[in-house]
């Protein structure tokens, strides 16, 4: 493998944290990669030269030790299982058909560790910059720049007159004119069906019960209320209903006495 292209110097504070890492500063760690990185660094080698096998062993040893003392977070255990698998894969003879290969897994892990290490380093360098309020200072009480808003109200003569029109309208005595809408009420339809059901003896289509002079909206209303009326009569056991299928014509006839409705 190639040399790591960049040498990452550790910030002194990070280094100090690392010394006792494997011991017990467990709560300062964020998760498995974090821990791995710490372990990786303790080997004092370039990440790409790390023996993944050794890393795995140290990590598993650490987890085993920790389990007795601490409630180990679930993601640590997932990582432990993954590493155990990786370890066995590295120890066993290679199966060329296996995908992905342990080498590839190890490579992927190393790439991730490198990237995290780079960001750790970047964070340390960022925090060490000359920061406002710590190293450089601003004016404590600047005069400030102020925008003074001059409120200007806007309305047109039309707004004014239509507003007055609405006031007048609201306070004038109001006469309501309700226009009649062409409807057949449920009561009317019930009455009508009850009358006709005695006359027609055989199955007849619902539409046949409607007066032929009902046209347009009135006819639509009549169909609707007659349908509801037919359901009501069927519920009362006074008519039988029959339909071949959905949206087929609905037939009805007077129920035979003594029979339960269908």
């Amino acid at each position: 493998m190639e040399e790591l292209p960049l040498e990452f110097e550790l910030a002194p504070t990070a280094a100090a944290e690392r010394e006792d890492a494997l011991q017990l500063s467990f709560d300062s760690w964020e998760g498995p990669l974090d821990l791995l990185l710490t372990l990786a660094r303790n080997q004092k080698v370039d990440l790409r030269q790390i023996s993944i096998l050794q890393l795995v062993e140290q990590y598993l040893g650490f987890i085993a030790e920790m389990r007795a003392k601490l409630e180990v977070a679930a993601d640590y255990l997932v990582m432990a299982a993954w590493l155990a698998y990786l370890k066995s894969a590295l120890l066993l003879p290679k199966d060329p058909l296996e995908e992905p290969s342990p080498d590839e897994l190890a490579l992927r892990l190393q790439l991730r560790l490198q990237r995290l290490a780079a960001m750790r380093e970047a964070a340390a360098r960022l925090l060490a910059r000359d920061r406002v309020g710590r190293d450089v200072f601003l004016r404590a009480k600047p005069e400030g720049l102020h925008d003074v808003k001059l409120r200007r109200w806007d309305a047109t003569l039309y707004d004014l007159l239509s507003a007055y029109g609405q006031v007048k309208l609201r306070t004038e005595p109001v006469v309501h004119m309700v226009s009649r809408r062409p409807v057949v009420t449920l009561d009317a339809a019930l009455h009508h069906l009850e009358r006709l059901i005695g006359i027609k003896l055989d199955w007849a289509e619902l539409a046949d019960f409607l007066p032929s002079d009902y046209q347009g909206p009135l006819r639509r209303s009549a169909i609707a209320s007659s349908f509801v009326a037919a359901l009501e009569l069927a519920r009362q056991g006074r008519v039988d209903l029959k339909q071949e299928g959905a949206f087929e014509p609905l037939y009805l006839k007077a129920a035979q006495m003594g029979q339960q409705p269908a």
Partner: protein
Amino acid sequence: MIDDLERAIEAMLFASDEPLDSRQVAGRLGDEMTPGEVRAIIVRIAERHDGSGIELVERGGHWHFQTPADLAHLLRRERDDPRKLSRAAAEVLAIVAYHEPVSRAEIEAIRGVQTSKGTLDVLMEAEWIAPAGRREVPGRPLIYKTTDAFLQHFGLTSRKDLPGIEDLRAAGLLDPVDLAFEEAIGELDLVKDGEEA
């Protein structure tokens, strides 16, 4: 080249959250200088800024940076903030215009709803209405009238230019709003039908 001591004192005065006197500055520098020496340096700093957009001034022996008074106008910017008059305010304004002088209770009686104080305030802020004395009835309520600014804004020569009730009716302004709306929709439908034909 500005020496380090002068730089340090300048930075101190700049970053301080309150004006400092030369004794305080000397104290922060570690008391290696007398207040008199510090003061000489502060005066030098003030002179260096003389005529710039920043000035170092002394008030009762304490020094602080500020922007020169003659530039204060640059720090304030006035901007128009146009706002549409609310429906309620338009109604109140119209009532004042048609019935003036009129008290708040009378406005409420005509509108048929309570009128918040804020609505009248808005109209007074716009300078479209103004108090016009008090009505000589129990309680002596304030009465309001419209102003010249009102006539000017709405392009009226005098209050007599306001259309009468019959004019309003003829213009359709006394039709219920939803009816007028339906008519407008009807016209739209006609237009559509026409296009399709």
